[in-house]
């Protein structure tokens, strides 16, 4: 339990830093869709998204495998738009706190499976959301 509290605190502090960079609590859907979104802000938001992963190195390995399958998605803006793009109804509620974003990602992930939006990565059937989050991690980690 203490570990979980520690993680939450850590993530809370990280959230504060991210929020600070945007200057306010974000209407995330606008970020995801906006063609005029600044690269720096997109990158900040992308970093928030991949914070779902405790082990980013692992996510990066899976992400590279996904990008072998979908090389046309290999840039941050495309991936952020695709991860968030079809779920704007949830995005308005995100950005307020860490858990809200987790819930958003989880919702997208579950909806992917419920609606057959899956992709095979090295034979494993993954949700599009988790595969793209992994790909995002691979790109951001370089």
């Amino acid at each position: 339990m203490s570990e979980n509290r520690k993680i939450t605190r850590r993530r809370f502090l990280r959230l504060l830093a991210v929020v600070g960079s945007f200057g306010s609590i974000l209407p995330i859907n606008a970020l995801a869709y906006s063609a005029g979104l600044k690269d720096e802000k997109t990158r900040h938001f992308a970093n928030r998204l991949i914070d779902i992963f405790n082990d980013k190195r692992s996510a990066s390995i899976v992400g590279r495998a996904y990008l072998d399958y979908a090389p046309h998605e290999a840039d941050v803006r495309t991936l952020v738009a695709k991860i968030c793009g079809s779920h704007k109804q949830y995005l308005n509620s995100a950005g307020k706190d860490d858990d809200a974003l987790d819930k958003l990602i989880l919702e997208s992930h579950r909806n992917d499976f419920a609606n057959g939006r899956t992709v095979k990565v090295s034979g494993w059937v993954l949700s599009r959301t988790e595969a793209r989050l992994s790909a995002l991690t691979a790109i951001l980690l370089g």
């Binding site: 993680i7 779902i52 692992s58 996510a59 390995i61 495998a65 579950r110 419920a114 034979g123 059937v125």
Partner: protein, 526 residues
């Protein structure tokens, strides 16, 4: 009374009321039902009480189709028949299995599940299993809960595990002591002789390996030699109908089915959960028997999912792969999976995938993050499918002769693309349900892009369909009572009469159908 056919004088004619050919699950069940009746019964069994290599070789024959078990080992030719090596899985067919389904060619039985229910109930005692209840909610417990899914596309159900009943041992004394039954061991039927218009059976030509051919006359003959041999016996009996007895419509031997099984899928669980596995496990000791475990759970497609997706009847069973279960020298999950499919995965991929899944599904399951240890378990997915009825999948006669001078059987087992497509769709459904529930991820290893997909499949030793049941004589060999179309005194017992296979192991239904036939015969003779 027990009679050694090797001692019967050549040319003798045995006269009886009912003659049963074959002492397997169907034959012995029929014999027990006839015990003490007012009519006489003669049972002919090719083998003795123990396995005999020379007699077993009479089952030999080539397979020219999809890879299959050797024909002289996929069934057993001695008293008790194939129940001498069955594993004991008892499952009734489902309602949908009996229906005509537009998307399953040649589907539909001339009877319904309701017609069989009373006989399924009676078959419980024969197979030494529990009550007629195969619902997961009845058998699940806190220790072994059936896994719940978000949709009703997959449902949990159970296999009831027979000890397994070895019919040849369990019921031997009862059969031998029956006052109205003569059991002939080492008695091989060479021909079923019909009258001049093939509308009635006159007698059987029988011999032992001692070549002492004798004859059996009866009012009623029941062919119960198994899903392959039933067809062979009819095809060999070509004295009147040159294409084989009952084969006026070229149906005998066609529509051979077995349950296609493959083991090339894997589930990577989010968390290894002993309870999850507890529900789905099947345990056997060194003798192939179950301990005290009488139930094992499995997943199958719901009727609704089958209708909506036009699926064949399919099911999933699971095996646990764990580090402690695998061979020495394999010391990580990554290596296990590399062993499963060499060279297919980057070295670190499995560990990485495990971490990714944990991270995502921990959120799903717990609502907070949890640091997780290294995943070291994985489930092997065993998928069963209904066989799509196919007239080109068939049993016929080979030119090579057996020890008795009879033409050997030739098997041409064929699977079609519908089976492949069905299994792929079933896996898609399972992967979606597992992911949605946060239970794990699935890997499917069928090569869907090439013609090599068949190499992943094997059979189940369930031989079905070669004398299929249909009310229309042009579409079936036997009618709804399992009487041969056009032949007034010939009945056929066993899984050769199944028009479709469902996904259930066939023995329980074979016994139920035999009990039903026994009632029919008793009505006729008593």
């Amino acid at each position: 009374m027990l009679i050694d056919a090797r001692q019967v004088t050549k040319g003798t004619t045995v006269e009886t009321d009912v003659c049963i050919i074959g002492a397997g699950a169907a034959g012995i069940t029929l014999e027990r039902e006839f015990n003490g009746q007012s009519f006489d019964v003669c049972l002919l069994e090719s083998g003795g009480f123990e396995f005999d290599k020379k007699i077993q070789s009479l089952y030999d024959g080539p397979n020219v189709g999809h890879s299959y078990f050797p024909l002289d080992s996929t069934r057993l030719r001695y008293f008790g028949g194939t129940t001498n090596h069955w594993q004991g899985a008892c499952i009734p067919l489902s309602e949908i299995d009996f229906e005509v389904r537009d998307w399953v060619p040649y589907s539909g039985w001339p009877i319904t599940r309701s017609d069989l229910i009373p006989y399924y109930h009676r078959a419980l005692a024969v197979c030494e299993i529990g009550p007629f209840d195969f619902r997961a909610e009845t058998w699940g417990s806190d220790d072994k809960p059936p896994q719940k899914f978000a949709s009703n596309r997959l449902i949990n159900t159970v296999i009831q595990e027979s000890p397994p009943t070895r019919f040849g041992k369990k019921y031997r004394k009862e059969v031998i002591d029956a006052p109205n039954i003569d059991t002939y061991l080492h008695a091989n039927v060479l021909e079923i002789e019909a009258n001049e218009n093939a509308q009635s059976i006159v007698r059987l030509h029988v011999t032992s390996l001692e070549e002492n051919t004798f004859f059996v006359k009866a009012k009623i003959f029941i062919l119960a030699t198994g899903g392959i041999e039933n067809a062979r016996m009819l095809l060999l009996s070509d004295g009147v109908q040159k294409t084989g007895l009952c084969n006026q419509n070229d149906l005998v031997g066609r529509f051979f089915m077995d349950h296609p099984v493959y083991e090339t899928g894997y589930i990577f669980p989010t968390h290894f959960n002993q309870k999850f596995y507890g529900w789905y496990r099947r345990d056997f000791d060194d003798d192939g028997r179950k301990g005290e475990l009488l139930i094992s759970g499995y997943l199958k497609a719901s009727d609704q999912a089958m209708r909506e997706n036009e699926l064949l009847h399919g099911s999933f069973r699971f095996e646990l792969l764990h580090m402690r279960d695998i061979s020495k020298g394999v010391n990580s999950l990554r290596e296990i999976v590399k062993g499963i499919k060499k060279g297919d995965l980057p070295d670190e991929f499995m560990d990485a995938l495990g971490n990714v899944i944990h991270d995502i599904d921990d959120v799903a399951l717990l609502g907070y993050r949890k640091l997780t240890g290294k995943q070291d378990t994985i489930f092997r997915l065993i998928s069963w499918s209904e066989h799509c009825p196919n007239p080109d999948s068939r049993v016929s006669l080979h030119t090579k002769l057996d020890e008795l001078g009879q033409r050997q059987v030739k098997l041409d087992w064929r699977l079609n693309d519908q089976v492949r497509d069905n299994i792929i769709r079933m896996h898609e459904i399972l992967s979606e349900e597992l992911g949605r529930a946060g239970l794990g991820r699935l890997r499917l290893d069928i090569d869907t892009e090439s013609d090599n997909w068949l190499s992943s499949f094997r059979g189940s030793n369930h031989h079905m369909g070669t004398t299929r049941m249909h009310n229309d004589p042009s579409k079936g060999v036997v009618d709804a009572n399992c009487r041969a179309h056009g032949v007034e005194n010939l009945y056929i017992a066993g899984s050769s009469v199944f028009p479709t296979s469902g996904q259930a192991n066939p023995t329980f239904t074979i016994v139920a159908l035999a009990l039903r036939m026994a009632d029919r015969i008793k009505e006729l003779l008593v």
